[in-house]
């Protein structure tokens, strides 16, 4: 179940176009908040908020150097999306109630 929860967090984090663009940028290279702000023409608080969401989803990690925070991609972050098995487990669990509904509709 843990994996399934992580999965929806990752989906949510990458569902926003700006956040996805920030994430893709961080795949290419490590960046600071100010560099990202300049690049994306979004306010600094907005970029910080996006980075916070990405960090909470486990997609991005931060490295502090002096007063600057450098953000980069956590290579483990997308793992939940690759867990096909977790996908199936959730799928099968969710089918129980549908199966019951079908059986309820059957004649004796």
């Amino acid at each position: 179940m843990q994996t399934v929860l992580r999965q929806s967090e990752v989906f949510r984090a990458l569902g926003d176009p700006t956040r996805r663009a920030v994430y893709e940028r961080l795949i290419a290279r490590e960046e600071t908040v100010s560099a990202l702000t300049a690049r994306f023409a979004v306010s600094q608080p907005a970029i910080s908020q996006h980075l916070k969401t990405l960090r909470e989803a486990g997609l991005v990690e931060v490295r502090r150097e002096g007063r600057e925070a450098h953000y980069s991609v956590d290579p483990e972050g997308l793992k939940p999306l690759f867990d096909w098995m977790a996908h199936y487990e959730k799928f099968w669990r969710s089918r129980g109630s549908k199966l019951k509904a079908v059986l309820e509709g059957l004649d004796e």
Binding site: E24, L78, Y88
Partner: protein, 145 residues
């Protein structure tokens, strides 16, 4: 080494009814997905679900074991070799075991044959992301819709 998903459904219905829901295409579709199943050993059929990435969403199945009202086993294969995320190749087996109990049926669903390949693919890819991962990632994200 392979892994198995086991899910148990506690159903307040007799095995005969449960068996119908597992073996009649229309009934199976109502809780699972469109299919052309028949409880005959050797029967080949498909299940159709939402395409994912480069996979057309077709699951290829073949009935392996039929023990009326007791056990149904079929293969479950699908996916595309160049699919990096959901829908990567799957060569698995679905085993459905019915056990009659007072007032109903205990249906055990076992989906077996998952290999560690997903993780290996992931590990291999994660090394490549920093150098040339952008394009591949984009494909994955696009496949998420």
């Amino acid at each position: 080494m392979t892994r198995t998903i086991s899910v148990e459904y506690d159903l307040p219905f007799p095995p005969a009814k449960v068996w119908r829901a597992l073996t009649e295409p229309k009934l199976l579709e109502a809780w699972l997905m469109p299919n052309d199943i028949a409880p005959v050993v050797g029967h080949k059929f498909t299940m159709r679900t939402k395409p994912m990435g480069n996979w057309d969403g077709v699951v290829h199945c073949e009935v392996l074991v039929v023990e009326p009202l007791k056990r149904l086993v079929y293969s479950w294969k699908g996916g595309a070799a160049d699919n990096p995320g959901y829908g990567q190749p799957l060569d698995t087996v679905l085993t459905l075991t019915l056990a009659e109990k007072p007032g109903g049926t205990l249906l055990l669903l076992e989906h077996s044959g998952f290999t560690g390949e997903n993780e290996f693919a992931f590990t291999a890819m994660s090394g490549g992301w920093r150098s040339h991962g952008g394009g591949r990632l984009k494909e994955v994200l696009e496949s998420l819709g």
